[in-house]
């Protein structure tokens, strides 16, 4: 039964054509989401493709549970990353997965490039190539959203994905913003949009999805819904991810001032508790997710020019932006931090890479590696909001050679200017906010996305701290790889990782059964491994090797909650990972 999931919508931006292909076998074998996307990427992306060339495809994929069960609420994007020159994968919520599924598709593949700026309007079976000349170069990505909201139909059942100036100017870590506050943040999907002169995608749909066992479906839904109301999930709704600021700081794991230290004296001011007390203005949810983890701060500010004239901006905050633009830049007040977050949002940049790039640049300038000549007159100093605000604009506008280099990431910028030892880059991607111990860093290095969410090493470290145990590099790698393989199942079902404690294998089997599919736990796990294998096959095809990974010196110089890290430990982890991956790669995994 094709309930729409098997429909892959192909869009050729060069020829302005589209067609739908039915790929039941793809979704049967690879589930959907990450699994379907890696196969489509492998098929559509030629070896050695220029990430900013028309040949680089954008693949968007959702899963079999999307629209049927709550919290299957992510869209997986895959592409070749302009930041790492390798596998690009980014996940986004908002209304994007629901809109794709209810428009009647399981995946969308966009190739080619338009000569003039355009946006795509996909309403059910209709695909329209619309002129975007007027909204190209618009200063604020939120304004673009507002305009398209008025212009296009589908209010409440649509997603509006758009890029800001950073994407237009091909900054390697430009993001795609959806529903104003959710992002395909990491690894530069925004630049790939920009290279295709694709300003936005509006997609909407209203369809139903039939199931075979009506009663079983309703009962299973009810069970899942009740589990999602548990205390374990409520924390995401209450303080949200910013609940991590204080504990990580107390632990000595909060990277601060380009990881010169791992404790920040102003952490309390930037904590989830303080934000909730003084700024939290509204909490909202992704479509079909009862958790509602999105926290919006209300920032009321006067206009200088006229007395009693105020504006109130709603700005989304989470742990990672607080780390990247807060502790990493030494920003001491929530107001300054919110204004910087807003700037990054408006221009459409990945917040983590931006914060890490600026913290590297600050240290580089302090060490005399770069001067005001390079920085276009800026004097970057910790806690100087004004200078950072300008620097963010300069990155998005690509004002000179230095900001062009900085816009390619810290690995590139430090290869040009020096300062590699404090460039916090892992496989070409900037560091997430966890200096918890060896597992976090080994995870950033070997993870298929070089993200903390690949194998959740930070969680392994935190458990080791809590239980006062020291894991060997081999134990760490085994756990990371096992977790990453299982997460391929979740991200193929596009279940938000916040729901990973609820969606255990037994529940997933039950959920499949109610919609008419018999799957075994063993088969699920095999599929997870197979997807991971496919991802590393792609990475190797594009030149990835564990051997050539650089370990940033800085992570060895600053103490973690598990003590100082040694190069040998990390290296041993990498060697073990190499063997572990080789065994996955050579294994013939039956599907």
């Amino acid at each position: 039964m094709n309930d729409g999931l098997a429909n892959v919508l192909h869009i050729d931006l060069s020829r302005k054509r589209f067609w739908v292909e039915e790929r039941s076998e793809l979704f049967d074998e690879m589930i959907g989401g990450s699994g379907a996307a890696i196969r489509l990427l492998e098929e559509e992306c030629p070896k050695g493709a220029d990430p900013l060339g028309p040949e680089n495809p954008i693949v968007l994929a959702v899963g079999p549970f999307t629209g049927l069960y709550p919290i299957a609420s992510k869209t997986v994007a895959m592409f070749k990353s302009p930041l790492t020159g390798n596998l690009g994968e980014s996940h986004c919520g908002g209304r994007s997965p629901i809109a794709i599924r209810f428009a009647g598709y399981g995946a969308i593949v966009i190739k080619g490039s338009s000569e003039t700026p355009i946006y795509l309007a996909i309403h059910g079976g209709k695909v329209l190539f619309r002129d975007a000349s007027v909204i190209w170069h618009m200063a604020n990505s939120a304004t673009v959203g507002r305009i398209l909201r008025e212009k296009e139909p589908g209010s409440g059942v649509r997603s509006i994905m758009r890029i800001g100036r950073a994407g237009e100017n091909l900054v390697s870590y430009a993001s795609v913003v959806t529903e104003t506050y959710r992002h395909f943040g990491r690894l530069g999907l925004g630049a790939v949009f920009g290279s295709k002169r694709l300003k936005a995608i509006v997609i909407s749909g209203r369809r139903s999805i039939p199931v075979s066992d009506m009663k079983g479906y309703r009962e299973t839904y009810r069970e899942i819904f009740e589990l999602l109301a548990s205390a374990e999930m409520r924390k995401y709704h209450e303080l949200g991810t910013s609940m991590n600021v204080n504990p990580l700081n107390e632990l000595g794991a909060l990277p601060t001032r380009n990881l010169q230290t791992s404790r920040f004296e102003h952490a309390e001011a930037l904590s989830g508790e303080n934000f909730a007390r003084k700024y939290l203005g509204r909490r909202v949810a992704c479509a079909h997710c009862p958790v509602a983890c999105i926290h919006l701060a209300a920032l009321r500010e006067p206009y200088e020019s006229e007395p009693y004239f105020y504006k109130t901006e709603m700005i989304s905050y989470d742990y990672e932006p607080i780390y990247a633009l807060g502790s990493m830049l030494g920003i001491s007040t929530p107001e300054a931090l919110l204004r910087l977050m807003d700037k990054v949002e408006v221009l459409g940049l990945d917040v983590i890479s931006t914060g890490v790039a600026l913290s590297w640049a600050t240290e580089a300038q302090q060490k005399g590696i770069v001067s005001t000549k390079e920085t276009n007159g800026l004097k970057l100093n910790w806690n100087d909001e004004e200078q950072y605000s300008k620097a963010i604009e300069y990155i998005a506008a690509q004002v000179n050679d230095f900001f062009k280099a900085l816009g390619k990431g810290v690995a590139y910028a430090s290869s040009v200017y020096g300062g590699e030892e404090f460039a916090l880059s892992f496989g070409g991607n900037e560091m997430p906010g966890y200096h918890t111990g060896p597992a976090a860093h080994i995870g950033f290095l070997i993870g298929s996305r070089h993200s903390h969410l690949d194998g959740a090493g930070y969680s392994i470290d935190q458990k080791a701290v809590a239980n006062k145990i020291i894991l060997t590099p081999r134990e760490i790698v085994d756990r990371i790889v096992e977790e990453e393989a299982w997460r391929q199942v979740l991200s193929s079902l596009v279940i938000c990782f916040f729901g990973r404690g609820v969606f255990k294998p037994a529940l997933i089997l039950l959920a499949f059964k109610a919609i008419g599919r018999e799957v075994s736990e063993e088969r699920l796990k095999r599929t997870g491994e197979n997807i991971l294998k496919k991802k590393y096959e792609f990475k190797r095809r594009e030149g990835f090797s564990i051997d050539s990974l650089e370990i940033p010196e800085r992570i060895l110089q600053t103490e973690t909650p598990l003590g100082y890290l040694s190069r040998e430990t990390i290296r041993e982890g990498l060697t073990t990972a190499e063997l572990r991956l080789n065994s996955i790669m050579t294994r013939n995994i039956p599907s």
Binding site: G67, A142, R207, I209, R218, R282, V284, A285, A287, A292
Partner: protein, 137 residues
Amino acid sequence: MVKRLSVVDVNLCVGCQCCMMACNRRFGEGGIARSAIHIKSVGGVERGFIVIVCRACRDPSCLKVCPTNALTRRVGGGVVLNQSRCIGCKRCVESCTIDAIFWDESVEKPVICVHCGYCIDYCPYGVIRMEEVVENE
């Protein structure tokens, strides 16, 4: 006692749309094509949401414009649709001031809330509830 669905406080709404999905599940399927309740933002999620659903009018405008008497008065307010009489003219849709009559494109018939309350259990934030209707009010 007869009940009707009512919106308690729209400011409690987080826009998760679980009520929309719940409504469609009445028919034993996922999705939203036959949902009689709709949630959309006021114009950007940062400004909050609008809950669009039949408010069980005592003197419904939709009923008055139906040319085939497919809509009859529901006890407690609102209307009951007789599918076999409906010719799909959409006059009811146009007549509803709050746009609470939706359209099922697969059968070309209106979708109107029957005030069954199935969605209530799937609103985690208490935005909607069933309210007793006092007769002869």
